[in-house]
Symmetry: C2
Subunit: 354 residues, 2 copies
């Protein structure tokens, strides 16, 4: 069964590294034209006898398609760029879902972690441009609107998620941060709380402003005066949340309940509670944005707002595929607002002294 090495043997370059076989090699080995091999590879009909020859040659040579060459020719890479700040529970879930769903479509996801600064976002966009990604998913900085706009001008479909970038004409997928926050705050009001604090994120971020707006909505619905002392920024971070919560608890007239606007800040608050011996929900009611296993397994359980990560991913993929399969269409852009679930657990209870 030994095949005598002929002209079709693998060539070695000067470094001793084997040159990968190409469709030309396959065509020669199979005794057919290059075009026939190309068409076989791309699933177009080929005469049965030729197909056998080609399949045999591919196996014998160990041929593997070069996606780069195909992409260059077709002007389509089947790669989508995904820019995000870090792999939190939320972003990780969305990235993974999007990645899996795209794979099922024969597409791949190239991810880029930006450092939440202008330079690294620019670097990421430049990188994606060089890689000729077909489209982009971005959780970006508002300050980068101009850069995103120049991407859009190049006819590259873009979907924004999580954080908004005003002034760019693209598709958007968000959790309904404002409504979820309103409902969460209303829950606290429903069970009898009247002074409610909030630990917010960076006000530069859309999500932070929306969550704060929802909190204010709920208070206004009941004609409750907004007390600025009860609104403290924790800068999205664990340490910031720790400090913000400390500041809120140190008020002359502290609240009986607090809404913490993300997971990290809640972790900071919980650490503080341990330090000072504050007990949930006896001493304070707490509700947090983002649901994680920690909250379910916490001794009392933390009431939390769960973002619909899989639905977000589905929506992102759906919007992108529509644009990609229909490049010429200028269908109107849409902004999807997806509802969150509020998971009631033990950290929210009616206040002791009402």
């Amino acid at each position: 069964m030994d095949e005598a090495p002929t002209s079709e043997q693998e060539a070695n370059d000067e470094t001793g590294r084997r040159r990968a076989p190409t469709i030309v090699d396959v065509a020669n080995a199979a005794g057919v034209a290059i075009g026939t091999v190309s068409r076989f590879i791309n699933g177009q009909p080929v005469r049965a006898s030729n197909r056998e020859q080609i399949e045999a040659a591919i196996n014998r040579l160990g041929y593997q398609r070069n996606a780069l060459a195909a992409a260059m020719k077709r002007d389509v890479t089947n790669v989508i760029g995904f820019m995000l700040p870090s792999l939190s529970e939320f972003h990780g879930a969305v990235l993974q879902y999007v990645s899996r769903k795209m794979r099922a479509q024969g597409r791949a996801v190239l991810s880029f972690f930006h450092d939440v600064d202008s330079r690294s976002v620019a670097e990421g966009l430049e990188f994606f441009a060089a890689q000729r990604v077909d489209c982009l998913v971005i959780d970006g900085l508002e300050s980068e609107a101009a850069r995103i706009r120049s991407v859009v001008e190049r006819q590259i479909p873009v979907v924004l998620y999580d954080n908004d970038i005003p002034g760019v004409v693209v598709d958007r997928v968000y959790s309904n941060n404002r409504d979820a926050s309103r409902r969460a705050t209303s829950h606290l009001l429903d069970i009898g709380h009247e002074r409610i604090g909030i630990v917010t994120g960076h006000t530069r971020d859309y999500t932070a402003r929306e969550r704060l707006a929802g909190y204010i909505d709920a208070l206004k619905e009941r004609d409750i005066q907004i007390d600025e002392d009860l609104i403290v920024s924790g800068q999205w971070s664990e340490q910031g949340g720790h400090q913000a919560m400390r500041q809120i608890l140190a008020l002359d007239h502290p609240p009986t309940a607090v809404f913490s606007c993300n997971y990290n800040m809640t972790v900071g608050s919980l650490a503080l509670f341990r330090e000072i011996g504050l007990r949930l929900p006896d001493d304070l009611s707490l509700i947090s944005f983002d649901d994680v296993p920690l909250f379910r397994l916490h001794e009392t359980g933390i009431t939390a707002i769960a973002q619909p990560t899989e639905l977000i991913a589905d929506s992102i993929v759906g919007l992108l595929l529509t644009r990609l399969d229909n490049r010429t269409s200028h269908a109107p852009y849409s902004t999807l607002l997806l509802d969150c679930d509020i998971i009631l657990r033990g950290s929210t209870r009616r206040p002791r002294i009402s």
Copy 2:
């Protein structure tokens, strides 16, 4: 300052999509040769006057380098493939670190989530081959040794991490699972426990076997008989951990301490404890592999083994860069075993009845 549209204007194809400017366009606009532009882009010296012309032309045309064409020419994509099962806290951290460090080197990471089955691993390797990734990072299945070997034969550097695949000649980076598990178990013995249970992972996985081996090492060091009843698999999963722990607690002569071999299974156990009202550490001591915020903030705190994720990423990157910068060298392959920290918290205490 208006530039009259000349031959250098952007061409539109039939779909109305602009063709991206190339170095040829830049060369024409700048009045220099193609080669000069290419050399400028790649940071080689160019006459000052030419450089100005080229920079101006690049800005005017909005030229962006085509990494695909360059990759095809150079046979180097500067993309590394990263194959992993899912985005757990551990894998997410490693992926993010590797990604950032590679970016600093001008390289990118293309990730692929396999479904822990043979078909999807094969699909991933095929995909990476088509994308011509320069090298591969894999947390793989042992069953896929043959496939990995054929990648190695193509001279593509591979680094294995987390889970071993015996019989392939590549670099490896692991936490010292066995020693960490031995030390964790020894800690329980030190504080007076004599009957210690273990909830293990899938025995098909290297990490599961190593962690079990460390547990056995510790018992043997003290001449304690291994009791098979105390060894139960939780299949790595939350539900499996729940069941395994239930089974262990239902023994006629249950242990006073349990070592849970990963995060998910520990979560399952904690859920069970809540259901049945078992209290840590009064009723049972618990130690877990993988340290996460949950364990720090748990009411009693969970003693845990922390894998050195950043060091793992550093090691992976270091090994890959060595191979990539030195393709011809056949330096011996290394297996790095990195020590874990054991973080003592409230879930481990000496047994009540000793």
